[in-house]
């Protein structure tokens, strides 16, 4: 273990165990969600309905003793439905602000691609800027603030695909995937009496989570690792099959995520393995492929994997 002492680190494992009591067999997604949570980033879950996206978010929220809000995005949703609205109170003869769901701690933005770009941008502004503007007043969002957005890759009709610039706002893009038969059986047994989510207890307070986020910032990233990250992201900009490569924001995201991941492992420093593991999740939604590449069924993830094979890991000396 590292010499660096993390006061709250022991809670991470508790949190993960707690979530895994409910979410069967999805330890990777669970861990990555916690990575995003600790790195103060947000997650885009892209998967078919019914694989437990909502359940994951709810369990997380419950384990954290945080305020959980859910926004179901529909085409007719207005920005004020997300951020909140000022309503005239005839009694006081004053406008009174009714906070929208965005002002919770953990927000599930379900089917984010179903709403109009105007509403999407209200959400995304909040995610990026950590404040919202309602009626000319700017309001700070709560801390911790964690958005998990989902989108359904199957139905395209009546959807407003997220612009690339906005995808960039998500730290990670994850897929849940179906459980294995074994896991599904387990799941059935688990829910047969009453739903385990009801038994989930809070493992830590909001304050503790904020402390953990602060501790993550203290994780050391060696210069050689930074160089490795930059090599990786700049290599995406030089690929023939890529129309638009990873932006510097992507490099920062990768570093932040790697720090959180190292923290989860109880390590006070980032190693190349962290970067290598996280790169597909952090970078794949930040790459726009050329049409030719798409025709050839190249995916951003496979491109990143091939880059990871090619770029030298810093190992001290050549």
């Amino acid at each position: 273990m590292s010499q660096q002492t993390f006061l709250y680190h022991s809670k991470v494992q508790d949190l993960l165990n707690n979530v895994q009591k409910v979410i069967i067999g999805k330890s990777e997604v669970t861990t990555l969600s916690v990575v995003a949570l600790l790195a103060q980033g947000h997650v885009l879950l892209e998967d078919v309905p019914g694989v437990g996206k909502t359940m994951l978010v709810r369990t997380l929220a419950k384990s954290l003793d945080c305020e959980f809000k859910r926004i179901q995005f529909t085409p007719d949703l207005l920005p004020s439905d997300v951020t909140g609205v000022s309503i005239y109170n005839p009694k006081d003869m004053q406008f009174e602000f009714r906070p929208g769901p965005l002002l919770g701690n953990i927000v599930l933005a379900d089917e984010i691609n179903r709403t109009s770009p105007k509403t999407q941008s209200a959400l995304l502004e909040g995610m990026e800027e950590h404040h919202v503007t309602v009626d000319g007043d700017t309001m700070e969002l709560k801390r911790p603030f964690f958005v998990m957005a989902t989108q359904n890759p199957i139905e395209y009709e009546g959807t407003y695909p997220l612009p690339e610039a906005q995808l960039d706002r998500f730290l990670l893009k994850l897929q849940m995937g179906y459980p294995t038969e074994q896991e599904e059986m387990e799941m059935l047994q688990l829910v047969s009496s009453n739903h385990p989510i009801d038994d989930v207890e809070a493992m830590m307070t909001k304050e503790e989570l904020i402390q953990m986020q602060e501790e993550v910032k203290g994780v050391h990233v060696n210069q050689s690792i930074q160089h490795y990250i930059v090599q990786l992201t700049s290599a995406t900009r030089q690929l023939d099959s890529v129309y638009l490569g990873v932006s510097p924001r992507g490099s920062i995201a990768l570093m932040k995520a790697a720090k959180a991941y190292a923290y989860i492992q109880g390590r006070g420093y980032v190693i190349p393995d962290d970067v290598k593991y996280l790169a597909p999740f952090v970078l794949s939604h930040r790459i726009i492929l050329t049409n030719e590449a798409k025709y050839e069924r190249t995916t951003a993830t496979s491109l990143i994997h091939s880059l990871l094979e090619r770029i030298s890991i810093p190992i001290g000396k050549i």
């Binding site: 050689s224 190693i271 393995d273 190992i315 000396k317």
Partner: protein
């Protein structure tokens, strides 16, 4: 602390094993004197002993290496340098030498490498060997390889060279049995963790071992042996390589060399141009003389002292008394072609002064008559120079009438003979001079003995004297075939045996006339070309009041020294005329022989030369050892490196040690386990691959520590004991 050093017994055992290794290595050095022209074998032996001791004492390298370096410099200084040890001129001379040799190596002119440089190479090799053997014998305890190599070496030398390996084989056999016996006993004790009391160790193990070894040796030595089961391969090999034949002799390349300790053997012609000279007349070019006959060849009893002289100063090389010998002033210009080999001047009899722009002074050795040109206190190679000399001509009468009362020191120095010289040499000489009443005639009588048809001039088919044989005796009575060294040495020895002071002179014959020119002084000069094959040796006989007079016993060579007859009375004139007639007759007799000789030698030049040993032999020998060493170093590179890193870990476990040894481990794993890290593979992934191979988690644990070092900030306090242990375990597993 190294666990190997825990017990005193271990230490004694290791000393013993290493000592045996040293003795075996000595068997490699002993034959050098015989098979190469290595003059200073004892120096090499002492130096290797020195290196072995330092290696064994395990002094840290930063003390050991400088010590060995100083030892090396000291040996080089003793062997080659005239400058004060480690002075600036000394360093300059060394630098000069090194640069010159480097150029020669770069130019692939290996034959031009000087003895100085070859010796340095050889010493470095000894240094390496001391370490390698230490590693083989003490550290990994693998003795067999070197034992077998030693056997191969000795037997090959015995088969293909003059070296007689009989005693050597027995010694090697004994030593290797002892060392292998002791080492296997100790290995057994260690592996089985048997602890035996000192007494019981001897009673139970050592005595039987000694008995067994002695028994085996005696049995092996005494038991009847089969004759060779297949024909001697040597004649076949030699007949397959042209120009050499199957007798037991060495073949040399002809040329001027400094080592004449081991004369004999055939040589091949070498017509490399050595120098050109413009002179009015053809005469011999002298370089040095030697005074001590060993029974096998020539050395100098005393090295003599060098005295420095300025250019244009008269040099003290007085071979004759100018007052009693008629001389003629002459000038000759010498242009050395082969600059590298010569730091000595070639000069004619009667040399007075040397004019050369290059040298600042000349070091002259009055004992050996060597002249070395010097610049800034260092010997320099000779370019071209002009010599003023007084060409002597001797009067027959004067020579015949010269007294025979030699100064004591001359008599003492120049009538030396080895005690081993067989009596029949002296008997023959006495017979020859019996009827002569003066020194000149005696010398002449002996000189003429070689003109008889019993003697044949040849450069091939010349035998090398056996261990107990005398070089001169062999030539005079057994072979009667030879070249200048045989003739001149025999004449000197015979003269000495009848009490006439004589010495052995070396240099070059006049060479081949190629051109003529008119000098600035209007005189007609002839240009001669002197080649390696013109190297020659002849005889100088001392005459009181006159000095040293050259004689030429070698068949087919004429004495270019001028002799003249005084105005004399009738009686004497008759005598002289008769003598001259005789001489003419002899010369006539000589001529057909000469022609015959020329035919024999066909396209080779008839001039034979002083047989010097093929210089390249030492080089070849060094090369062989170097190749063997490199192969061994290559084969054992990983264990050697392991030892190196292990020591680093023990001494100074720090980040750079860890990094280097971790990389070394990866390199070994790539080579031995064929597990190579791809550049995109993280250390952890790689470590897991290795661990999967070994079914352990050691590599991952080591890698975690390495990651801390590498990626964490200012990581200093790693658990070094654990790291060292993990690394050692892993490297041992990988290498085994």
């Amino acid at each position: 602390m190294d666990p190997l050093w825990h017990t005193k017994r271990q230490w004694i055992y290791e000393s013993f094993i290493y000592l045996c290794g040293f003795l075996l290595f000595m068997e490699w050095l002993y034959p050098l004197r015989q098979i190469t022209d290595t003059e200073y074998v004892s120096a090499f032996i002492i130096y290797s002993a020195f290196c072995f001791i330092i290696s064994f004492l395990r002094v840290p390298w930063y003390i050991g290496s400088p010590l060995k370096m100083i030892g090396l410099a000291f040996v080089v200084d003793q062997l080659f340098m005239t400058e004060p040890f480690l002075s600036s001129s000394w360093l300059f001379a060394i630098k000069d030498q090194l640069r010159y040799n480097w150029d020669m190596i770069m130019g692939l002119r290996f034959d031009q490498i000087t003895p100085f440089f070859r010796s340095i190479l050889f010493l470095v090799l000894l240094w390496l060997m001391s370490y390698l053997l230490y590693y083989w014998f003490v550290v990994v305890k693998r003795i067999h390889f070197f034992v077998i190599l030693t056997f191969v070496y000795v037997t090959v030398l015995d088969t293909f060279t003059v070296f007689d390996g009989k005693a050597s084989v027995i010694r090697v056999f004994l030593i290797s049995l002892i060392v292998m016996g002791v080492s296997s006993i100790m290995k057994e004790l260690k592996d089985e963790e048997i602890t035996v009391a000192h007494k019981r160790l001897f009673k139970g193990w050592m005595y039987p071992l000694v008995m067994f070894i002695l028994g085996a040796t005696i049995l092996g030595y005494a038991s009847p042996k089969l004759t060779s089961q297949w024909p001697d391969p040597v004649p076949f090999i030699q007949s397959a390589t042209e120009g050499l034949d199957g007798s037991n002799e060495k073949v040399q390349k002809v040329g001027y060399g400094t080592n004449d300790e081991q004369l004999g053997g055939s040589f091949i012609q070498d017509n490399t141009l050595v120098f050109q000279v413009a002179a009015e007349e053809e005469h011999y070019w002298r370089i040095e003389t030697k005074d001590f006959y060993t029974g096998k060849g020539w050395i100098n009893a005393e090295e003599g002292r060098f005295q420095s002289f300025d250019p244009d100063e008269v040099l003290p090389i007085q071979t004759f008394n100018q007052e009693n010998v008629e001389t003629e002033k002459r000038t000759a210009t010498v242009l050395m072609i082969d600059k590298a080999s010569f730091t000595k001047l070639v000069y004619p009899y009667g040399i007075e002064r040397v004019n050369q722009s290059g040298a600042m002074s000349y070091n002259v050795n009055a004992t050996t008559n060597v002249i070395q040109p010097m610049r800034n206190g260092r010997t320099v190679r000779v370019g071209s120079y002009e010599i003023d000399y007084n060409q002597p001509s001797y009067s027959y009468q004067q020579l015949q009438q010269a007294s025979e009362e030699d100064p004591l020191d001359i008599e003492e120095q120049y009538t030396q003979l080895p005690e081993s010289l067989p009596n029949r040499v002296e008997n023959l000489a006495r017979n020859l001079v019996e009827e002569e009443d003066n020194r000149y005639d005696k010398a002449k009588a002996i000189e003429e003995h070689f003109a008889t048809s019993a003697f044949r001039y040849d450069t091939e088919d010349v035998p090398v004297p056996e261990e107990e044989e005398d070089y001169v005796d062999q030539f005079l009575f057994d072979s009667q075939v030879g070249y200048c060294d045989n003739y001149s040495s025999s004449m000197v020895v015979m003269l000495r045996s009848v009490g006439i002071p004589a010495r052995w002179a070396k240099g070059f014959t006049g060479g081949e006339r190629i051109d003529s020119a008119t000098g600035d002084d209007g005189k007609a000069y002839t240009i001669y070309e002197v080649k390696s094959e013109n190297a020659h040796s002849w005889v100088e006989v001392y005459f009181p009041q006159i000095g040293w007079v050259p004689f030429e016993p070698t068949k087919g060579f004429g004495n270019h020294t001028e002799f003249y007859t005084d105005e004399i009375d009738e009686e004497e004139r008759e005598e002289v005329t008769e003598e001259l007639k005789e001489k003419l007759n002899e010369e006539e007799q000589e001529k057909p022989e000469l022609q015959q000789l020329e035919e024999e030698l066909s396209d080779e030049k008839e001039e034979e030369t002083s047989g010097t040993l093929l210089r390249n032999r030492v080089l070849v020998f060094i090369l062989i050892i170097a190749v063997v060493t490199s192969i061994a170093l290559y084969v054992y590179r990983f264990p050697l490196m392991r030892m190196y890193y292990r020591r680093r870990f023990l001494r100074n476990p720090n980040a750079s040690t860890f990094t280097d040894s971790y990389f070394f481990l990866m390199k070994v794993a790539a080579a031995k386990l064929k597990i190579k890290r791809n550049k995109g593979q993280t250390l952890r992934e790689y470590a897991m691959e290795i661990d999967r191979y070994f079914q352990s988690n050691q590599m991952s644990r080591l890698t975690h520590q390495y990651e801390r070092l590498l990626y964490n900030r200012n990581e200093q306090n790693l658990p070094w004991d654990e790291v060292t242990e993990l690394w050692e375990d892993l490297i041992n597993k990988t290498l085994s």
